[in-house]
Symmetry: C2
Subunit: 211 residues, 2 copies
């Protein structure tokens, strides 16, 4: 099966899907370093993953490399971008314009990795109307209407835990299908909505277990 | 084996350890909601994890609940805090006082979850000396000495990808043993140093695969 023609994407285990963005990240660094080819051992060394695991993961999507010659870096980048649906940039909405929303709205690192912030909302009258980087913070009372009109499907949620569930439900009403939440609570949303969480404390506690 | 007397912590699979902070997070929310007891089904429903998995995970550390009566929320919180080494607060250093470092230095959510920021460093003369929340940004040229003197073991790294490896090595020289890195590169450090990464784009790409 040639790459890109996979038909039944839900049959790929999610744990494999979760590793693909890491492969893409490392390959894009290799490209910046002018590497034209790589192999599963080099990728594995950079990622702390076994070469066998990398070969097995990539083989789920087709035949990428040739025995002995390895992988073409640009070809593998293109293929992973296509698999992950990031060949063009997704517009994103940031909800919650506190310190973290501020940082995300101004973050330069989304460029070339498939995303761009296009709207920022908050419900605080003291913050609405303020400029953050290239954005004017909009009133979250108008969020459902504006996000729906813009056809935005991806959101970053940086509101307090106490309002995260309510705002997430509004985002789903707006047509959002993927939410990256920084609020430290588990959201309860329809199964078709993708949700991922970032809570630095979970990762800090994971490490202190070993200290 | 009673809880807290586990001797060979490295025998617990890391994938189980990674779930324990999520259990603690949900239990602390339950405590805020004045729940005194819970059970594996309720925990599972909140976390999207099967009740059987939760029972199995917790049984690795001893007998927490009684058949039929479930778990005591405060007891389970205390036990998990003890297992994860977060009964008291770890001092942390933030390196990189850009937008994100700013947000982390002012973040209120560390309180009661086992961490507190105690120093902030940057190498930019325009930023050194500035006030961020209760901190004065210090010169990273003095970082190794000051972090070592304070005995700080946990760091959050929010410097650009291009300097992350160098700064991480300096942190290790300072005695830091756990690094949460926001730089989108894989760090190459001694095996005894715990490293975790936060890169929102990896999680966004994981979701767009399914869109």
């Amino acid at each position: 099966m040639p790459p890109g023609t996979y038909m039944e994407k839900n049959k790929i285990p999610d744990i494999v899907v979760a590793r693909l963005p890491r492969y893409l990240q490392v390959l894009q660094h290799m490209q910046q370093e002018k590497h034209l080819t790589t192999n599963s051992k080099e990728l594995g060394d950079r990622l702390g993953i076994s070469a066998a695991q990398i070969r097995k993961d990539l083989s789920q999507f087709g035949e990428f490399g040739k025995q002995g010659t390895g992988y073409s870096v640009p070809f593998l980048i293109n293929t992973l971008q296509s698999i992950l649906n990031v060949t063009t940039a997704w517009n994103m909405v940031v909800v919650g314009a506190g310190d973290l929303g501020h940082a995300l709205a101004r973050y330069q690192g989304f460029t070339n990795r498939g995303f761009q912030v296009s709207m920022v909302f908050d419900n605080d009258p003291k913050i609405i109307g303020k400029q953050i980087g290239p954005f004017i913070v909009q009133d979250s009372a108008e969020m459902v209407e504006k996000v729906r009109a813009a056809g935005i499907q991806v959101a970053m949620l940086t509101v307090p835990a106490s309002s995260a569930q309510k705002v997430a439900e509004e985002l789903v009403k707006s047509g959002v299908k993927a939410i990256l939440s920084y609020a430290p609570i588990v959201l309860n949303l329809p199964a078709y909505v993708q949700v991922q969480y970032i809570d630095p404390i979970l990762q800090l506690q994971h490490m202190t277990y070993y200290l």
